[in-house]
């Protein structure tokens, strides 16, 4: 970690992430919304402040254009794997990785997310994935899609999961996380910008209130608030 101020670190990472191109053919049924560079930068720097990125094995579930995977790699993650079920999104991801000369540092896997996590978890030894970072579907098109992603993430048994969800679902998801054997808390509230990616959107630009949930196998440390402050928000 360099000595730059938190604000400067956000700015630098955001500058890298702003070159990540959005979905070339977004699919509404998969709720493929582009994660904004600013949001991705803040998420990864927050995770970084908890020691969950640099040198770690990080899996991005439903990686889409690889925004979060790229952010993780830019923050020094040792192993980064992006998993997505959509071939078009993975082609976008590969092209983004090439443009940033990261294609040899991030692996992409074309797989249904739940099936990937459960099959990996079936191996006799635990996978040793430290961090799962995911911006799952919010479950507005397919009810339960958000919970299905969390369950898949939990099946991998990582030390920590970062997941973006609509703030309106917070109480429900915190409860579900406990049932999955994780301690969960909302570590940041953010506005998720929804650009006019789909024809049915009437307004050219809106946003939805989202929580960054952090799920840990151990009870969360009291330092969370300080860490969030260090991440620049």
């Amino acid at each position: 970690m360099d000595a730059a101020t938190p604000q400067l670190r956000v700015k630098r990472l955001r500058a890298v992430l702003q070159s990540v191109r959005p979905f070339s053919s977004p699919k509404i049924e998969l709720e493929q919304y582009h994660t904004a560079a600013d949001l991705a930068a803040r998420i990864l720097l927050l995770a970084q402040s908890h020691g969950d990125v640099a040198g770690r094995t990080v899996v991005d579930l439903g990686c889409g254009t690889a925004m979060l995977a790229i952010a993780a790699r830019a923050c020094g993650a040792g192993v980064v794997i992006g998993v997505d079920t959509d071939a078009d999104a993975l082609a976008d991801a590969a092209s983004n990785l090439r443009a940033l000369e990261m294609e040899d540092g991030v692996d992409l896997v074309h797989s249904e997310v739940g099936s990937f996590c459960r099959s990996v978890a079936k191996r006799p030894r635990p996978a040793g994935v430290h961090t799962v970072i995911t911006n799952p579907p919010f479950g507005t098109r397919t009810a339960g899609a958000d919970v299905a992603f969390l369950e898949a993430a939990a099946a991998l048994q990582p030390q920590v999961i970062y997941s973006l969800h609509k703030t309106s679902t917070r109480a429900f998801l915190l409860g579900r996380a406990e049932e999955m054997g994780y301690h969960a808390e909302a570590v940041a509230e953010m506005a998720f910008p929804l650009p006019k990616a789909y024809a049915f959107h009437r307004k050219s630009e809106g946003s939805v209130a989202v929580d960054l949930l952090r799920l840990t196998r151990e009870p969360p440390a009291a330092a969370t608030a300080a860490a969030a402050a260090a991440a620049g928000e």
């Binding site: 896997v109 074309h110 191996r123």
Partner: protein, 134 residues
């Protein structure tokens, strides 16, 4: 895709997974066999990171990595991780190069249990199942 990722992947076919566990703790559908097309392996030297090498070592399934390395003919690994390996820079470098520098670009991953082939194109393994495999 690099061997560090191949070291995680296992067959996703339901009928195969359901019959893969053996009484002695083995798992027959793992590791997936790396079968490159002609010229389908790419070697890219990545800068050695000792911290990453140390943290990855205990997380690898060593027996699976050893089997894959032997099948590919790229390295002859000892049966167990040698004692003191985490402070042996030469050993760490060789493992690091093995798991991070060999990329399967074109070819297949073959399940050693049911024989299912997962094609790898442009470095991305396609693990999607047909309906009758779920």
């Amino acid at each position: 895709m690099r061997l560090v990722t191949q070291n995680l992947l296992t067959c996703q076919v339901k009928a195969c997974m359901d019959t893969a566990a053996t009484p002695d703790g083995g798992f027959l559908s793992y590791p997936l066999k790396v079968v490159p097309d002609a010229g389908g392996l790419k070697q890219v030297a990545s800068p050695f990171d000792e911290g990453v090498a140390k943290s990855i070592l205990p997380r690898l399934d060593w027996a699976a990595l050893r089997k894959t390395a032997a099948e590919l003919g790229v390295a002859a690994l000892p049966e167990e991780v040698p004692a003191g390996a985490e402070s042996d820079a030469g050993f760490l470098r060789s493992v690091y190069a093995l798991v991070f520098d060999i990329h399967l670009e074109e070819g297949n991953l073959l399940c050693p249990h049911c024989g299912r082939a997962y094609p790898v194109r442009k470095g991305v393994p396609n693990m999607l199942l047909r309906d009758d495999e779920m």
